[in-house]
Amino acid sequence: MALLAENNSRARALAGGTDLVVDLKHAPGDVDLLVDISQLPEFSGIEETEEGLRIGSMVTFSELMASPIVNQMTPEIVAASHTVGAVQTRNLGTIGGNLVTCVPSADSAPSLLALDAIATIAGSDGKRSVPLEEFFVGPRKTILEPHELLAEILIPKKNLGKPSHFIKFGLRKGQALALVNVAAALYLNDDGKVAEPRIALGAVAPTPMFARKAEASLDGKRPNEESLLEAARVAVSEIKPIDDFRASANYRRHLVQTLTYRTLKRSAEIASEQ
């Protein structure tokens, strides 16, 4: 960390390298110093603690998919991991790297946001924790200071097993960036009404985001056709999609409505099965 802080913009921390090695090839003069953090034991491993499920930032997507505890407690994180890149990139790429690279379409972000994940940041002056939502600042920009690294992600204990569903919509099953990705999570209380709904959207704003108004519109209602469609419509009003060569902003709006509806509906089905 001292090395990274001293060399500031000329130094980079190397995790899985699936983004950074490509950047180095495109702009070979930009970086003088690489610090390999991928083997740091403090940033590795997946474990259940008193606070919840702790995922080290250097855990690869393949490790997440193979982890019995992640499969059992947060299956949608496994599903989201499966949509990242392809086998070879999942064997290298880390969840921390995906979040720090901070592209709007990051496939790991929505399902983590939907479970109110907390990012723990380690710096030369100690540790701090922030809700993952606040970690993202803009495209390729996080709140990390030069002397700081993302150490781990925590899924709070109360959200382990929370009914949740993730859908990525890309143009192919493998090696495709999401046009839109959506994760929903919710509980149903004893009289069948929605509690603590979460709707997290990717690739439709400068950073992965919550559709807070849509969540509020669904909170306390029964999850029927009418209330779910209304939430999906409200979600569309909250996004700021762009036109690019992958899709038009209008198409992304259409996708957000459809996928928000589907992820909420599936989450409610899972909740009612429990």
Partner: protein, 159 residues
């Protein structure tokens, strides 16, 4: 920096600049040109090699990261007497046309079959999602992998 690693069972070492990728180390310093340089950004999969049992894009892995680890490339599959079952089946079924994707396809397939000797068609497709082929249309590649898997698990059962 000096990188010392095991490649196809043999200990090898080379003195390379720190920004050297594993692919460049293999091709230009160790003269193992089986793994190909395709897109060089981790999309096409023709540079795929196995590192400690996991398939990776060698164009995305810095050589230093492979230090002290075991690497298997396409050159490590056949002996002078015998092809690997995957290579035999790729040849027999015409799963290669121009052949440029072949080393990566076969290595990805080996990584799959080593863990899951009798995969479903879906599992084969999933395992190949990081390997592009512009000639074959994939059908024959998938058939060859399923056939090789059956041969390998039968051989396993006999031994």
């Amino acid at each position: 920096m000096i990188v010392k690693l095991k490649v196809n069972g043999e200990t090898r070492s080379a003195d390379v600049p720190p920004e050297t990728t594993l692919l460049k180390l293999l091709r230009e310093h160790l003269n193992l040109t089986g793994a190909k340089l395709g897109c060089d950004v981790g999309d096409c999969g023709t540079c795929t090699v196995i590192v400690d049992g996991e398939s990776v894009n060698s164009c995305l892995m810095l050589a230093g990261r492979a230090s002290g680890r075991e690497v298997t490339t396409i050159e490590g599959l056949a002996s002078s007497e015998q092809l690997h079952p995957l290579q035999e089946k790729f040849e027999e079924l015409g799963a290669l046309q121009c052949g440029f994707c072949g080393p990566g396809m076969i290595i990805s397939a080996k990584a799959l079959l080593d863990k899951n000797p009798e995969p479903t068609v879906f599992e084969v497709k999933d395992a190949l999602s990081g390997n592009l082929c512009r000639c074959t249309g994939y059908t024959k590649i998938i058939e060859a992998i399923l056939d090789a898997g059956r041969i390998m698990s039968t051989a396993e059962a006999k031994s």
